[in-house]
């Protein structure tokens, strides 16, 4: 186990570090905070998802309130990855990515396979699980030049958390690259106060 951890740490350190920085901006369509970075042909964008937005999305797809709350209770980002280069295919495996929160905490993403197992065990409807399957980011993906797509990524962190994220990608020659996104901020779960004199 210790050897495995050492090996993993060594591979991460040996990864080709990214020269690009993280650019924080406000997504013009949503007004939400967003971050983007590019490392050679590999591009990554993370846009906040509001917990209420996530809750509403999954309720509308047929999930129970319990399941929608569980999803909304985690940090989720709308994630856009792509290959804007011309140097061949890029491969990404989200299970290689690691988040690093203040206080030295770090960990892996909550991948869609884990959500699907959990939600199937809870008896959530098939239609809803199909929507989750296709709205979450594929765990493993190969991007040919010009390929890009959008999907949700989730993290075992509470809404409002801040963290850095190490994105690992592999180029056409099989070289491993690491791109650090700095200062990601999960959208906080803000309750809308009840209207004065009214009930909700």
């Amino acid at each position: 186990m210790a050897l495995r951890s050492l090996f993993l740490a060594a591979t991460l350190l040996l990864a080709v570090p990214a020269a690009a920085g993280t650019q924080a901006y406000v997504d013009p369509r949503t007004g939400l905070d967003a971050w983007r970075a590019r490392d050679q042909g590999f591009s990554a964008t993370f846009i906040q998802r509001l917990p209420d937005q996530t809750r509403a999305f999954f309720l509308a797809r047929g999930f129970s309130r319990r399941a929608a709350d569980a999803l909304a209770g985690r940090c989720l980002f709308q994630t856009i990855l792509g290959n804007a280069g011309k140097r061949g295919a890029i491969t990404v495996d989200l299970s290689e990515w690691r988040w690093h929160a203040p206080g030295g905490r770090s960990g892996r993403l909550l991948l869609k396979e884990a959500w699907l197992r959990r939600l199937a065990a809870q008896g959530e409807p098939l239609r809803a699980r199909i929507a989750l399957k296709w709205s979450f980011y594929p765990t493993r993906q190969r991007f040919e030049p010009d390929d890009w797509n959008m999907g949700m990524t989730s993290y075992p962190l509470a809404p409002g958390s801040r963290f850095d994220l190490d994105l690992v990608w592999h180029d056409a020659q099989g070289r491993r690259h690491r791109l650090r996104m700095v200062g990601l901020h999960c959208a906080p779960d803000r309750a809308v106060p009840p209207a004065k004199g009214g009930s909700r």
Partner: protein, 186 residues
Amino acid sequence: MRRYLATFLLCCVLAPGRADTGRPDAFQRGLRTVDPPLAARDFALADVNDGTYRFSAHHGHVRVVNFWATWCPPCRREMPSLERAWKRLAPRGIEVVAVNVGEDEDTVFAFMGQYPMDFPVLLDEAGRVVEQWPVRALPTTFVVDPRGCIRYRALGGRRWDDPALLEKIEALASAPPVPCRRTPGN
């Protein structure tokens, strides 16, 4: 000199910021050649007009097969351009079909009230066909030649009425046949 240095430093800082966000320029991207071409899996699906669309019954035509869902932002964004593309391609005998993944007829029908779709819209409610085709994410669109071989693929949204894309699709109608790789089950 100091001003040039400041400009240079500013460029260094901002350069990574020109990162591709997947939009809006990503929609201007092209079609990826599938090499070697892959035999498309046959399927039969209900369409929103209570008919059935069997894929193999349309061999002899170039087909643009789009996998999508109403909740998928790039799918929604590319749909009007797919409609415009269909209007240009249909008189040339080229078909466009949109396979909705995992949603019911009412949901799709409501969407079509906002986004006109005059080409066949098929319902893969149980998500079986999408699993049999080489789809990893939505939207994914395939261009299939008259013999049923997938020749081009687009992962992510596109501006389908881009003349460069349309020319490529139209050229397939008269392109010489190529060997097509079969996968188990097709």
